[in-house]
């Protein structure tokens, strides 16, 4: 038996490198002019619509959306390069993150002509923000057990149920709701699920904040009570929801946000060592190497995805090791002396490490827990 674990490596072309440098220059200019303050976990916590629109003006939102729908017809790898540079800098990208990463591609793939014309241009301009309505109070890792129900009515569907962990629902326009439209068949649990595009301001929708342990607010619970969804806002095919939801998972799992969430902290550690504020330690090199290896793997997965190859296993590998690594970087806080005993020049590092330590618990949960993903890897290896 021969197991091929990683897709063939990608070497960046001159065009990709030029694009990378262009984003770097943009980020440097923004930092110099106070355009944003870098944060840890900036793709979940950094909600700044104005910054999103600045990116849109550069053509860096909805990059892979075809031009006829207001996008830029760029390649998947071009989007990877742009998002990497923004994440590495801790730029506030969460407002458009969900729309740009998965709503846009899902609409391109499964949406009707009318839906594409209505929604895609707003995604590319940073005017329309989206949330995801997958998890429920009783359906977390076991997504097929969703109870939110869609019932056929004249001209559309009535949707009733509740969704949790919907990031940014309080500030978004729509969210994609996974609902059961046929009774659960225990032998075929993945059948009878459908996706609806739900207006978060429609009658019957109530958004309640879920406050995180650090006091932050990005998660919400969304209650749906007989919310009317017209037929033309059904995504894809009724009954095909499971296939539609899972088809985008490899994009979600292998992305750079799975290993770059704490990179600003590692960079600040490097600078503190350069200044002599903390001793130079081999752990810096160790985690740098790990980030670079994850970067190479993620890029290889991106290349394979753009060639249409099956990448479930390596995508899960990026997420398991990437999210563990960004959490381990948070633990490098143990190198950082407390405020009472150290130079003021360590204030930024302390801010990052406080953020990282308090948010790391979520790293290995969101987008599929690492325990579920190890199961995916095991299946890929033929163990299940």
């Amino acid at each position: 038996m021969v197991i091929q674990l990683t897709p063939s490596p990608v070497v960046e072309t001159a065009d990709l490198k030029a694009l990378r440098q262009k984003v770097r220059d943009f980020v440097a200019a923004e930092l110099a002019s106070g355009g944003f303050t870098p944060t840890i976990n900036s793709w979940l916590g950094g909600w700044e619509p104005e910054f999103s629109r600045k990116l849109a003006a550069q053509g860096w939102l909805g990059m892979t959306i075809p031009k006829e729908y207001g996008g830029h017809g760029a390649s998947f790898l071009e989007r990877v390069v742009v998002t990497q540079e923004l994440l590495a800098a801790g730029a506030p990208v969460s407002a458009h993150w969900v729309a740009d990463r998965q709503i846009g591609p899902s609409l391109v793939k499964f949406g009707t002509e009318e839906q594409k014309q209505k929604l895609l241009p707003g995604i590319a301009t940073g005017e329309l923000f989206f949330g995801i309505g997958m998890s429920e109070p009783d359906a977390g890792s076991d997504l097929a057990s969703v109870r939110t129900r869609g019932t056929k009515v004249d001209g559309g569907w009535k949707v009733t149920g509740s969704k949790v962990w919907t990031s940014g629902a309080h500030a978004s326009d729509y969210f994609f709701v996974l609902a059961r439209t046929a009774p659960l068949d225990a032998a075929h649990r993945h059948e009878g699920l459908s996706q609806f595009i739900v207006d978060l301001h429609a009658p019957g929708v109530e958004v309640r904040p879920i406050i995180s342990l650090n006091g932050g607010h990005h998660f919400n619970e969304v209650f749906l009570e007989d919310v009317f969804v017209p037929d033309d806002m059904v995504l894809g095919t009724i009954g095909d929801g499971w296939h539609q939801v899972t088809s985008e998972l490899s994009y979600e799992r292998s992305g750079s946000e799975r290993f770059l969430s704490t990179l600003p902290m590692l960079e600040e550690i490097r600078q503190a060592m350069s200044r002599g504020d903390i001793p130079v330690d081999p752990e810096l090199g160790r985690y740098f190497a790990r980030i670079m290896a994850l970067h190479q793997t993620s890029l290889a997965v991106a290349g394979a995805l753009s060639r249409g190859e099956e990448v479930g296993t390596p995508a899960s590998i990026v997420k398991v090791l990437g999210t563990t690594t960004e959490g381990d970087i948070a633990e490098l806080a143990m190198m950082v002396p407390g405020a009472a005993s150290a130079a003021a020049s360590l204030d930024t590092l302390r801010r990052y490490s406080d953020q990282a330590l308090l948010e790391r618990a979520g790293f290995t949960l969101r987008g599929g827990t690492n325990e579920v993903l190890r199961g995916v890897i095991a299946r890929g290896l033929g163990l299940r």
Partner: protein, 341 residues
């Protein structure tokens, strides 16, 4: 679109055939790994014993890494890296003609000594590299002209003490860059070998977990066992990606030494740390049978542990990266992910 660089499928198949056939007919494993001259003759006849020779096959690091990996996956005791990527390359740098004999290579100290030269006691000639004044010298010497004291590493591979009489040697001058690149080539070769052997270990873990039945089912059905294998496979995957990147950079022939050093250091750091998880987990999955000489697992786990400490320890690579990062004016992300060249 990005270009992809991958080993040609036909060539990969040829490599696997050569070592697969050898392994089927080789008899039992041995504690001491002696150079297999018959297998070497097969490589010679097949034209793959000196792949990167400028005047010969003219292949690149991509093909050389493919061959090295195939040999490591079969636990074939051959000085492929030493003969081709180290000695052959050194001789080309020094303008010494190829003689078709079997070579190893060694970096000597100023007194002409080296402590652990791979395969020294079992090859025909050794290409020596040593510091002389402000520069470096290279000479290619028959093993009969050297004092060689046989030693072995923990895997049973020959790692012999070598002593040369430098005053009697007519060395050819090479630059300090040659000495530096020599070490990086050796380090990269070991990363490639480690990854290939670790990949084989994960395969053995899967084979064992799907065939070994306990509590009425294959042990691979237990999540605890699945997790051990999944974590090992994940480490091998990212370690392989890092080595792929370094191999491609070396194959491009366009990287300056600082850039190559960075890429090799990343590959060696990741491979070194991966080895801890992979060796531990794969042995754990195998249970007690994996600790025996009878089972083949040690043919892969022992070399991984031996190679990990050659051409630089894990800590040395981590520290080197730390020092480079701290000394740089660039952010670590810009330092690692370049936009020029």
């Amino acid at each position: 679109m990005s270009e992809n660089a991958q080993l040609d499928a036909d060539l990969a198949e040829l490599f696997d055939d050569v070592f697969g056939t050898w392994r089927e007919g080789r008899g039992s494993a041995t504690l001491e790994l002696d150079l297999d001259r018959a297998l070497w003759a097969t490589l010679d006849e097949t034209g793959i014993s000196r792949l990167t020779a400028v005047d010969g096959a003219g292949a690149s690091w991509v093909e050389a890494a493919g061959l090295l990996g195939a040999a490591a996956r079969a636990a074939a005791p051959l000085p492929i890296a030493e003969n081709d990527l180290l000695s052959g390359w050194l001789r080309e740098q020094a303008g010494i003609e190829d003689d078709g004999l079997l070579h190893s290579a060694a970096e000597l100290d100023g007194a002409g000594a080296a402590n652990a030269v791979p395969w020294a006691s079992q090859v025909d000639r050794i290409t020596l590299l040593w510091p002389a004044g402000s520069g470096w010298k290279v000479a290619d010497v028959a093993t009969s002209e050297l004092t060689i004291t046989p030693r072995r590493d923990l895997a049973g591979q020959p790692r012999d003490a070598v002593k040369a009489d430098l005053s009697a040697l007519e060395g050819r001058d090479v630059s300090a860059e040659v000495a530096r690149e020599y070490r990086l080539r050796g380090a990269l070769a070991r990363a490639v070998q480690m990854n290939a052997a670790m990949g084989r270990m994960v395969e053995l873990a899967v084979e064992h977990a799907t065939s070994r039945v306990q509590f009425g089912r294959p042990i691979g059905k237990f999540q605890a066992v699945q997790n051990l294998i999944a974590d090992a496979a994940a480490e091998v995957a990212i370690s392989g990606s890092a080595a792929d990147a370094a191999v491609l950079l070396a194959a491009s022939g366009q990287a300056d030494l600082d850039r190559l050093e960075l890429s090799v250091a990343v590959a060696r750091s990741v491979a070194g740390h991966a080895a801890s998880t992979v060796v531990r987990n794969v042995h754990q999955v195998h249970g007690a049978i994996g600790t025996t000489f009878e089972h083949q697992l040690h043919e892969f786990s022992k070399p991984v542990l031996a190679w990990r400490s050659e051409f630089g320890s894990v800590r040395e690579w981590d520290s080197l990266l730390s020092e480079k990062l701290v000394a740089s004016d660039e952010s670590l992300w810009s330092f690692g992910v370049e936009t020029d060249g």
